[in-house]
C-alpha cells in the first residue's frame, strides 16, 4: 500500500499534544479562512451528524449537494461495495458507532475540505471497513486534499508505509502511567463462581422481528468472551438481557443451573460499560461517579474507590466534574465506575476507544487479573491489540445461527 502525502497519521500517546499541535498550527497558518477549508471530526461521531434529517440517504445527499459528480459517484460506489446501502433508509441516530463513523467520514469527504482532521473517531470502524476506507482514499482518482488522522490503532490494520508525524510533547495534564496495585488482588477475589447458561432463548422486539431464536450457550466464569457480530446481530440486546434491562421468558437464563430472573434484579449479576461514556455518567464529581459516596462507609468500600481512582489515573482530579474532562478521561471514568461496582460479570463495550497502547496494555492486565480472581468478562471491541493481549473465546452472534468459533 502506497500512501502519498494526502494521508498523514499523527503518532503519539494520549495527551502527547498531537491534536493541539495540529490545531494550533492550523490556526496560525490559516487564521483567516479556517472555517471554509478545514473540517474536524471529533471523537464521538454522533455529534458530527447534522441532526437535520431523519434518514441516512438525506444526510448524504445534503452533504453531496455541491460535490463534484465524479467524487460523489465514487463515494456512493464505495458505500455500495462495503454494503452500507442497507442503512440508507435508517435514522442516523439509530446506527451503531461504527456505522455512524463511516457516515460521518463520507459526509465530510463529500464536502471536499482542504484539510480533514479525524480525531480517534475512526477507531470505531470494524476491520471490514477500516482498511477499505483508507484504500478508497488512496485509490480514488479524484484528488482529495490532506487527511490527517490521530488514531491509536492504525498499525493493527497493516498500514505500515505511511507518513507519520510525531508531535512535540507538551505538558501532560493527566496521569497516563498505569500499573496494577497489589491490593487489587485481595479486593477482587471471588469464590462465588457463577456460570451463566442460556437455554432455548428466543427474543425479538416485536412479533415479526426475531433477534434470537432458540439459542443456547454457557458463559463460564474466569473466561474472557469476545462478543462479535454485525450490526443488528444482537450484541447490545444480549448485553441488555444479561444485565436485566430486557425481559426474557423464564427458564431461558440460568446461573449455576438455577433459573435466574435478571429482570427482577437489574444490574446485580453483570456490570455494563457503554461505548459512549456520556450515557452512564451521573455524578458531579469523579470520585462519586467511580463509587457513590454513602453514609457510614466501611473502610473496604473507601479503599475500593481509592484503588480504582488511583489505578485509572483519576486520583488527582477526583473532585472535578466528569463532564469537564476530555473524552479519553471520561471513558476511563466510565470503565472505572463499572469495574468498581464489583459484579460477577462485566460486559464492556469498546473499552479502548480513544485510548493509547499504554492504557490498552494496562487494561488487558487488569482483565486478566479479574478473570484470575473469579470474574467473567464479555468484551465487545474492534481493538485487535487488546484481543491479541487477551486469551479470548470468540462468540459470534449471527441473526439465525449463533455459536462459538
Amino acid at each position: 500500500m502506497n500512501l502519498n502525502d494526502k494521508l498523514i497519521f499523527l503518532k503519539g500517546n494520549n495527551f502527547s499534544g498531537r491534536t493541539s499541535y495540529f490545531l494550533n498550527n492550523l490556526k496560525n497558518s490559516n487564521e483567516n479562512d479556517q472555517s471554509e477549508t478545514t473540517l474536524i471530526i471529533k471523537e464521538l461521531p454522533v455529534n458530527n451528524i447534522t441532526g437535520i434529517f431523519s434518514s441516512v440517504i438525506e444526510e448524504l445527499n445534503l452533504h453531496g449537494s455541491s460535490t463534484d459528480m465524479v467524487l460523489k459517484d465514487n463515494i456512493f460506489e464505495f458505500l455500495y461495495q462495503i454494503g452500507f446501502d442497507e442503512h440508507f433508509a435508517k435514522n442516523p441516530f439509530s446506527l451503531s458507532g461504527g456505522e455512524q463513523t463511516i457516515l460521518v467520514l463520507v459526509c465530510n469527504l463529500l464536502l471536499q475540505p482542504k484539510v480533514l482532521f479525524i480525531d480517534t473517531t475512526i477507531e470505531q470502524l470494524n476491520e471490514t471497513w477500516y482498511r477499505p476506507f483508507f484504500d478508497f482514499i488512496n485509490n480514488c482518482n479524484t484528488v482529495f486534499s490532506k487527511i490527517i488522522v490521530a488514531d491509536n490503532r492504525y498499525k493493527e490494520y497493516g498500514i505500515v508505509e505511511l507518513n507519520e508525524f510525531e508531535a512535540t510533547k507538551e505538558k501532560i495534564e493527566y496521569d497516563n502511567n498505569f500499573e496494577l496495585p497489589k491490593l487489587l488482588n485481595d479486593l477482587t477475589k471471588n469464590d462465588n463462581r457463577q456460570t451463566i447458561s442460556v437455554k432455548n432463548l428466543s427474543f425479538g422486539y416485536s412479533k415479526n422481528n426475531s433477534i434470537f431464536k432458540n439459542i443456547n450457550f454457557d458463559f463460564e466464569i474466569g473466561n474472557i468472551y469476545h462478543l462479535k457480530g454485525k450490526n443488528g446481530a444482537g450484541k447490545s440486546t444480549l448485553a441488555k438481557i444479561l444485565t436485566g434491562v430486557l425481559k426474557v421468558p423464564e427458564q431461558a437464563l440460568f446461573v449455576n443451573g438455577k433459573i435466574y430472573n435478571s429482570f427482577k434484579k437489574p444490574g446485580s449479576l453483570c456490570g455494563y460499560s457503554f461505548q459512549n461514556p456520556d450515557e452512564q455518567i451521573f455524578s458531579e464529581t469523579i470520585e462519586n461517579e467511580v463509587l457513590p459516596l454513602i453514609k457510614n462507609e466501611q473502610s473496604e468500600y473507601t479503599k475500593r474507590r481509592n484503588l480504582y481512582l488511583e489505578m485509572f489515573g483519576l486520583q488527582n482530579i477526583k473532585k472535578k466534574h466528569p463532564a469537564e474532562m476530555p473524552f479519553v478521561i471520561r471513558k476511563r471514568i466510565a470503565l472505572a465506575s463499572t469495574l468498581a461496582m464489583e459484579r460477577q460479570w462485566y460486559i464492556i463495550d469498546e473499552p479502548t476507544l480513544g485510548q493509547d497502547n499504554n492504557f490498552v496494555c494496562f487494561f488487558a492486565d487488569l482483565l486478566h487479573l479479574l478473570c484470575h480472581n473469579g470474574k467473567g468478562i464479555i468484551l465487545i471491541t474492534h481493538c485487535k491489540f487488546l484481543i491479541q493481549k487477551l486469551n479470548c473465546i470468540e462468540f459470534v452472534l449471527k441473526h439465525e445461527n449463533h455459536g462459538y468459533k
Binding site: 472555517s35 471554509e36 478545514t38 473540517l39 474536524i40 471529533k42 464521538l44 454522533v46 455529534n47 458530527n48 451528524i49 447534522t50 441532526g51 437535520i52 434529517f53 431523519s54 434518514s55 440517504i57 438525506e58 445527499n61 445534503l62 452533504h63 449537494s65 455541491s66 435514522n91 441516530f93 439509530s94 464536502l111 441488555k240 444485565t243 436485566g244 434491562v245 429482570f263 427482577k264 434484579k265 437489574p266 444490574g267 446485580s268 453483570c270 456490570g271 455494563y272 457503554f274 459512549n276 456520556d278 450515557e279 452512564q280 455518567i281 451521573f282 458531579e284 463532564a323 465506575s337 463499572t338 461496582m341
Partner: protein
C-alpha cells in the same frame, strides 16, 4: 409508520389550515364544528396512521384542561362564570383548533424538508424548524440509554412504575450535559460545514402525493369555509 400513499402536499396542508381554522373560529354553532371534527379531522388522523398520537394528545392535553375547567368553574366559582355547557363548548373548540394544527404539523419525516421549503422557509429558519422536529427522536433515544445505564448499574433496585418514575430527575443531569455538549459540537460542525449554503443547494427527496386525496381535502376545506361564511353572513340559525 407513515403510509406514503397518503402524503399530504404542503400547499394542501396550508389550505386546510387556513380554511379549517378560519371556518371553525367564525362558526358560532359548536355542533357544526364538532361534526367537522368527527367527519373530517378524525378520518384524516386514521389515514395518516396517527390516530394514537391524537388519542395521546386528547388524554394528556384535553382531559387535564377539561378537569381544570370543572375545578375552576363548577367547584370554585360554582358555575358563576358559566356552567357545563360553557365548559363543553370551550373544551370542544380548543380540541378542534389544536387538532387542526396537529394534523397540519404531523409531517412525515422524509417530507419535512419539502414541506417547510415549499412553505417559504429558507436558510437559518429552515434549519432550525427541521432540527426542532428531528431533535425529539434524538432526546428520547438518549434518555432511553441513560435509563438503561442506571438499570445496569443497579441503581434501580426494584422495577415498578414508582421506581421508574423516580429515575426522571437522575436522567436530567446526563441528558442536559449530553444535549449541551452535542449542541456545542454540532454548532461548530454546522459552522465549519457552512450548513446554510448546503441547505440552499439541497433539492430534497421527491415525494409523490396522492392526487385524489389531496383534491378531496382542498374541496372539503374550501366548502367548509364557504358554508360557514354563508351561515355567518346570512345569520342562518342552524338548530337540530
Amino acid at each position: 409508520m407513515e403510509n406514503k400513499n397518503y402524503y399530504i402536499h404542503p400547499f394542501v396542508r396550508i389550505t386546510f389550515l387556513l380554511c379549517a381554522f378560519t371556518g371553525s373560529i367564525l362558526c358560532d354553532n359548536v355542533l357544526i364544528v364538532f361534526a367537522f371534527y368527527l367527519t373530517i379531522i378524525v378520518p384524516l388522523f386514521f389515514l395518516q396512521n396517527k390516530i394514537f398520537t391524537h388519542l395521546k394528545f386528547l388524554l394528556l392535553g384535553v382531559v387535564p384542561i377539561f378537569l381544570s375547567f370543572i375545578l375552576l368553574n363548577i367547584i370554585v366559582l360554582q358555575s358563576k362564570s358559566g356552567g357545563w355547557e360553557y365548559i363543553f363548548e370551550r373544551v370542544l373548540r380548543l380540541t378542534v383548533y389544536a387538532s387542526i394544527f396537529q394534523i397540519v404539523l404531523t409531517i412525515p419525516a422524509n417530507d419535512l424538508f419539502n414541506t417547510f421549503k415549499k412553505w417559504g422557509l429558507k436558510g437559518e429558519s429552515l434549519v432550525t424548524v427541521i432540527s426542532a422536529f428531528a431533535v425529539w427522536s434524538e432526546i428520547t433515544n438518549r434518555a432511553d440509554k441513560i435509563v438503561t445505564a442506571r438499570l445496569s448499574k443497579g441503581y434501580v433496585k426494584r422495577r415498578n412504575i414508582f421506581s421508574m418514575a423516580m429515575q426522571f430527575p437522575y436522567t436530567l443531569n446526563p441528558l442536559i450535559i449530553g444535549v449541551i455538549r452535542t449542541a456545542v459540537e454540532r454548532a461548530d460542525s454546522w459552522h465549519n460545514k457552512n450548513i446554510l449554503n448546503l441547505i440552499d443547494n439541497y433539492i430534497g427527496t421527491e415525494n409523490k402525493y396522492n392526487l385524489i386525496l389531496n383534491t378531496v381535502i382542498v374541496i372539503i376545506s374550501i366548502s367548509y369555509l364557504c358554508v360557514i361564511l354563508f351561515l355567518v353572513l346570512t345569520k342562518y340559525n342552524f338548530a337540530l
